[in-house]
Symmetry: C2
Subunit: 223 residues, 2 copies
Amino acid sequence: MEIYHLRKNTLISFLKWPEIITWGQNHYRDRTFNQNERIPIRAGLLYLVQSGAVSLMGNARANILSQKISPEETKETFLGLMGTGYPFEVTENTHFKLRALARVDSTSVIWLYWHDLDNWPNFRLEVSDFFRYQHQRQLLWLTVLGQRQAIDRLWGFLTLLIEEYGKTVDKRVCFPYPLTHSQISNAIGSTRVTVTRLMGKLRQQGLISVDADSTICLLDRNK
Amino acid sequence: MEIYHLRKNTLISFLKWPEIITWGQNHYRDRTFNQNERIPIRAGLLYLVQSGAVSLMGNARANILSQKISPEETKETFLGLMGTGYPFEVTENTHFKLRALARVDSTSVIWLYWHDLDNWPNFRLEVSDFFRYQHQRQLLWLTVLGQRQAIDRLWGFLTLLIEEYGKTVDKRVCFPYPLTHSQISNAIGSTRVTVTRLMGKLRQQGLISVDADSTICLLDRNK
């Protein structure tokens, strides 16, 4: 098995980025967050991650068959990560709530109305193309999450995530942000206990390594 | 529970559609398929569904822990549906194969290179915005597929699909294409047997109805 070839940066090297960051700062449209702090997001706005990283979380009303749902019964799903230089947005929906959390300290975000982008038509097109690319990535996520076995969902999830965000260190490609087994289980529709057991299996097979600080890396089996 | 408000058509009323369809036909870039016929797709091309509907399927290498994988061990996931008037595209990936199938007879598709769209810059922007919208829809799909209970994944899957493509008939909103329990199970990472059992539960609860021809409908509980 080869390590995935990274395809990132093909669409996110926005030409006008510095100009737009400056514009956001001059218009008081920037704010910095601590790790795990909630980032207020509104439909109709475009957000740009200036530094740090942002997790996007989805909340569906769990257990449709029970008549009354307490807040504890809703379960939050990890939907993806936006690193420095990534745009993101959310739309309104009655049945799903999306929220954004700062993934690390000093995560800084600026925001714009879509019509602000009329000033930078090429940037607008670049952002749209980025979401086009994200759409393609999500088709792969959906392929992974449609797998019946939790081990296949786990492996697919880790490879997609590390393909997108991984940093190469000594023939290993590592995920540069903290990621708990509980967070993984919330992404792949499994339990924390199952994820811990299956992570052990992947380690034994020499597919992944986990460092003392919990950093998860894919190993190159051809080395 | 209210029936979802349909948000479709907000982004897919492409102004230049008839002109581009004519262009495709004049350039021999159109072809018609029978139900379940495979539509050849290549990365770098944009496809437009001129009539009928197309299913997008993803193939991941299942069972990562076994050393040799026979073709029967790979499992195909239902990734989504493109109805008449929808654009779609796929990108290359070593580990995942996407394929497109005609959903109904007389499904007709035209194709363009992305650079062909330089002739119609506004159409290009409309298509990009459509994929931006699809990206948002997929965040909701991912929220649904991250649910631990199969019943919640099933219910979320049906409501998202019918919200997007459903046709209203007598206070019911129905999915206008054939959809088997096996196909549903391949979308939500479950088994056909489980889907059949859980569809029975949703029917008993008065959440859905299934017609003699297997058409699935959401019922409005407030009627």
